[in-house]
Amino acid sequence: METPVSTSASIESGIPVEIGKIDKELGKLWESSGDTKTRASLINLVVYTENEAGLAEDNEVLASVAGRHPCRAILILGTPSAPTSQASAWISAHCHLLGKDTRQICSEQITFRLDGDAANALPNIVFSHLDSDLPLCLWWKADFPEPLDEKLWAWVDRLIFDSSSWRNPHHQFSIIRHISSPGKSAAVLCDLNWTRLHAWRFALASQFDNASAFPHLSSVESLSLRCAPGFRISALLLLGWLAGRLKWRLDAENETFIAANDRVIPFHIDEIPGPNLSLISIKSPDARFELKLAVGSDFFESTIQTPGIPEIRQILPAPRGRLEDTLLAELSRAGRHTLYTESLEVILPLLTH
């Protein structure tokens, strides 16, 4: 396994550099490291945040991500409301020992602080410090601004965000829809809230891969979910996915789904302290499917009750709770999240409630 090696710094303790000399200073950094360090990079990972208090955590996440997914990390703290305009930069490196080898695999990080009007220089800062020919993943850790800088979005290959942190999801999703509309940006939309649902979707799909369980999918009569307060949007996204896949329509007024044969499928979401999402139970007239996640557990408890077959209990991998694990899971994926927009469209009317 990889062993982290601490050689690096944060915005407070990194090596301060002049913005115009960043490439030169990075070159010096690697020259001084000798043959034992190998610089590796698969992507440009740009993180934009306006939360100064969370910067230390952002640094930790980037260090952890770099160990598994080498990248050029560009962390940008924007404080557009600051009274004075100033741009500052720091460089640092995240190195990890590779197995028992003495070689270290290193990723470089450039950290910027853009105060006041300097925050408007964001596109230029990004464009001029990318590692060439590598994809650009932009992790936007703030509310999306309006109007959007079209030139910036046009460069983004993967746009990462976390809808579970939004105060006004309906408005933010409408911006997302605009960004992803034809002719705007080809960026892959990567909602970490959706990424966390991957394990849920995989586990649910696995339950219905079973030949004895599959027929009950067409006769679902009710759904109930349990989520932590503030994470209703996660539960809704999971419901949106199920509804989209099973061709159910939403009756937003009554908070029910309508199946193709006009069968009404009520759903219920309980908000109880615990994991973001802790339970989904699907009932059909004579079968029941349940996925349960206990606090702090890495595994779901899956239960399948179908007629004529003994109850099947199984333990399945659950989403890892740490932010870096979610981000790594997202970065390790290739291709588009083809069902994300479909699922989102289903539940959008519920987000205003």
Binding site: A40, H198, R201, A205, D209, N210, L217, T338
Partner: protein, 511 residues
């Protein structure tokens, strides 16, 4: 059909992971052996941890020793702790282990199989395994015949309607062509070819699978993958280990039958084959068989011109003195078993005319490594002749293990006012580029067998064609023994092997 259900499960769409196989029971014959403990059970546990196993699965260990389910599970847990590529989670292990049980029986007693059949029926009804059975022959090859015969007699080879019954056969698939044919006949008596999965674990390795992607998903390489641009290809499998307690088996097999007949010829096939019509099992295996049929046979005197066999003498490995092969425990002091083979193989088809494939495999070599090195032809010696610079040829290296990856050697100008050309290496390491842990070969292969996907398994005609090629070499070796060279442990093999490749104006790569 279950496969249709998986295809139509609308919840499956858009998920990165593959479909979950049908519920089933895996019966391991030889369950107390090394393979079960080191590879199979850790692989199954890792699959469970990844959520890749079916919701209902049972594992039955079938072996001769007397032990309870509980003792068997405890032994497997210890092994999983030791050999699993990821840590063991107690809850998950407990859940996984509750599906494991032990069935004691002699391999040659039909009653044991009849009792097994009853037990499997009961498990189907109590655990929902649906009558699907996967039998794994992990016992010694001398037991294969009796196990297959008893599976047939007890009717375990026949699945109920709507269910399936499959068999996984571990190598060696025979010891020569007649015994391989006999084994294949025995398997065929009990199982259809579509139900038979012959494991060559090299094919389960990510890098072996990546050969197909590298060749056919990159225009850069495939356009140059022929005799016009390639000078020769070297395939190496080296290990510092000696026979390590396997002398009984190794004395009878030797490096040729232990490694070349299966692993190395499989790698050669993947390197040399034409683009398949599709990625399905038979399309790929058809192309591999065509390569094996195109191998220029080595017989009689040709064997001694194109094949070098050798045996390790005393020497040192990692600074420690090690004994000669003939001084190893249970080895005949006058043994002529080869622990090293180097050979020149020609693939007589349009693509590879005039391009030799040099293969070498050996024990007690300085380091462990398996790789395929594609040596491209030299550029015309025109442009840089006047500078007196010698230019190294381009070499594309596919490292199968360890440190899986791909590197490309090319020439570059050294910085400075004079024209000096030096070789530089572009290197891609799986470990560096993909943070994701590489699954063990057995994980992939077990899952494929449960899913009925035979792409990474050897087909009957492949195995027999490979034996045909290897048998001819072995037959020539039986006529004399004076060609057996010796090499010091810790060296890269005998001088004769260097001479073999030197005739082509080449040299073995330094790993």
């Amino acid at each position: 059909m279950p496969t249709d259900i998986l295809r139509s499960n609308p919840l499956r769409e858009g998920l990165a992971q593959r479909s979950i196989p049908d519920p089933c029971t895996l019966v391991i014959f030889g369950a107390t052996g090394d393979l079960t403990h080191r590879k199979l059970v850790p692989a199954l546990y890792n699959l469970a941890a990844d959520g890749a196993l079916p919701p209902a699965i049972s594992v039955v260990g079938f072996a001769r020793r007397d032990k309870s389910d509980e003792v068997f599970r405890t032994e497997l847990e210890e092994a999983a702790h030791k050999f699993s590529r990821q840590g063991i989670n107690d809850d998950l292990w407990k859940n996984f282990a509750s599906n494991i049980c032990y069935h004691r029986s002699e391999f040659d007693k039909i009653e044991g199989y009849e009792a097994l059949a009853r037990r499997l029926d009961e498990m189907d009804s109590t655990r929902g395994t649906g009558g699907n059975r996967l039998f794994y022959l992990a016992a010694g090859p001398d037991q294969f015949e009796v196990i297959l015969e008893n599976l047939r007699k007890s009717g375990l080879n026949k699945a109920r309607p709507g269910s399936w019954s499959r068999i996984i056969v571990e190598k060696p698939f025979g010891t020569d062509l007649p015994s391989a044919k006999r084994l294949n006949d025995l398997v065929e008596n009990a199982f259809d070819e579509s139900e038979t999965f012959r494991i060559d674990h090299y094919l389960g390795k990510e890098t072996a699978q990546n050969i197909i992607v590298l060749r056919f998903a990159n225009a850069l390489f495939e356009a140059m993958w022929n005799s016009r641009y390639i000078d020769h290809i070297q395939i190496t499998a080296s290990e510092p280990l000696g026979v390590e307690g396997r002398a009984g088996y190794y004395e009878k097999s030797g490096a040729l039958r232990d490694m070349v007949q299966n692993h190395l010829l499989q790698l050669l096939c993947l390197t040399a084959m034409e683009p398949p019509a599709g990625l399905d099992a038979d399309s790929i295996r058809d192309e591999k068989v065509k390569v094996l049929r195109s191998l220029r046979p080595l017989t009689g005197d040709d064997v001694f011109k194109h094949v070098v066999r050798a045996q390790y003498g005393a020497g040192s490995i990692n600074g420690k003195r090690v004994a000669a092969y003939r001084d190893e425990l249970n080895v005949n002091p006058g043994s002529v078993t080869e622990t090293y083979v180097a050979m020149e193989i020609n693939v007589d088809n349009w693509r590879w005319a005039g391009v030799p494939f040099f293969i070498r495999v050996g024990k007690r070599l300085p380091k462990a490594g398996t790789e395929i090195a594609v040596h491209f032809k030299s550029v015309p010696p025109v442009l840089f002749r006047a500078t007196g610079e010698s230019i190294d040829d381009n070499v594309l290296v596919i490292r199968i293990q360890p440190d899986e990856g791909i590197s490309l050697r090319m020439s570059a100008k050294m910085p400075g006012s004079s024209l000096r050309i030096e070789p530089v290496k572009m290197d891609f390491h799986y470990g560096t580029s993909f943070g994701k842990a590489t699954p063990e070969a057995y994980e992939r292969l077990l899952l494929d067998a449960m899913s009925g996907d035979a792409t990474l398994f050897a087909r009957r005609d492949e195995v027999e064609q490979a034996w045909k090629f290897v048998d001819a070499i072995h037959e020539a070796w039986t006529t004399r023994t004076d060609d057996l060279a010796l090499y010091s442990s810790g060296s890269w093999g005998p001088a004769e092997a260097d001479e073999l490749i030197k005739r082509h104006e080449g040299a073995w790569r330094r790993l």
